[in-house]
Symmetry: C2
Amino acid sequence: MPRNKQFDEQKALDAAMRTFWEKGYEGTSLQDLESATGLARTSIYNAYGNKRKLFEKAIIRYRNTVLHDLVAKLNNASTAREGIRALMQGIVDMHYDSRTPGGCLVVLSILESEQHDDSSSALVEEMIGQMKKAIHKRLLDARRNGDLPADLDVNGVSSSITAAVAGMMVMGKAGFPRSTLQGVIRTTLNLLES
Amino acid sequence: MPRNKQFDEQKALDAAMRTFWEKGYEGTSLQDLESATGLARTSIYNAYGNKRKLFEKAIIRYRNTVLHDLVAKLNNASTAREGIRALMQGIVDMHYDSRTPGGCLVVLSILESEQHDDSSSALVEEMIGQMKKAIHKRLLDARRNGDLPADLDVNGVSSSITAAVAGMMVMGKAGFPRSTLQGVIRTTLNLLES
């Protein structure tokens, strides 16, 4: 496969990802996908199979770019507290970045579960599960290293941080001001104290 | 208007509310609404105008029943802490109640914002705003009465509880076990301690 074709497929996939992220699965028409990718309907079918297969490829692309970068913020900070702060701040910054659609493709897709088949449902559920596991592992390692209190309820706190992250995306879409989401970050960090 | 007609319209509205709650706005077809309400398409148009008007009536019905009952749990408990616990427990119990669709109609509708017009978007955004205001007021009154610590960050904590509530609905839809959501409740209550 020539490099050029690979490059175009990547760009088209990014464009499809952003369209699903903005409009949701059901709300995205083939016409929307044609406009976004610059490909004709027949080329989309030839390259990706159908709308559902393209959605699955788009959500995997989202995991490998957007979610990968967020988990890197969590893991690359020097302390667990700074890692959680960087993860949550990254999510808020992404929501208000005019270059990306607001909210989160995974959260949107979970809520739209009635529109998905078993395969794409399992995929989006696995992604929020992986986010929770990454938070849980970061806190557990930090508790072992003495970076967090020995009596920290790692199961409860990692569940709460996952809920806060998903809830912030809902609140962002509902038009709450940035200061409200900063308040969620500030307060959630208090959960790491004991 | 005879009582009988009023009764039927209420029942039909409840059925429409549950259908939107289960399938989302875009995912609900007129055929679905016909099956759920037992009304023919022309009767639906005559009674409610169009699908969007019916959706708006359904979401107002949701506010006046489901959200009203949850806010009553928040306000009727003897302490703010018990009120927050009762609100969050009510949301988890509702999600796992086999007699209701999972998740929350308001959260689903916010995520589906691209599918709504300004009027219905404003309506669902106002509803999550009212939930946050109810939590904020309960905490503020409790801080004034000495039921919560005088230095409690009421703005931050009420934002965090709102995020936790919305996030729990996302996690419930993503298939996390009930024990994970109980962990969110247990940990979130720690935010009321200082």
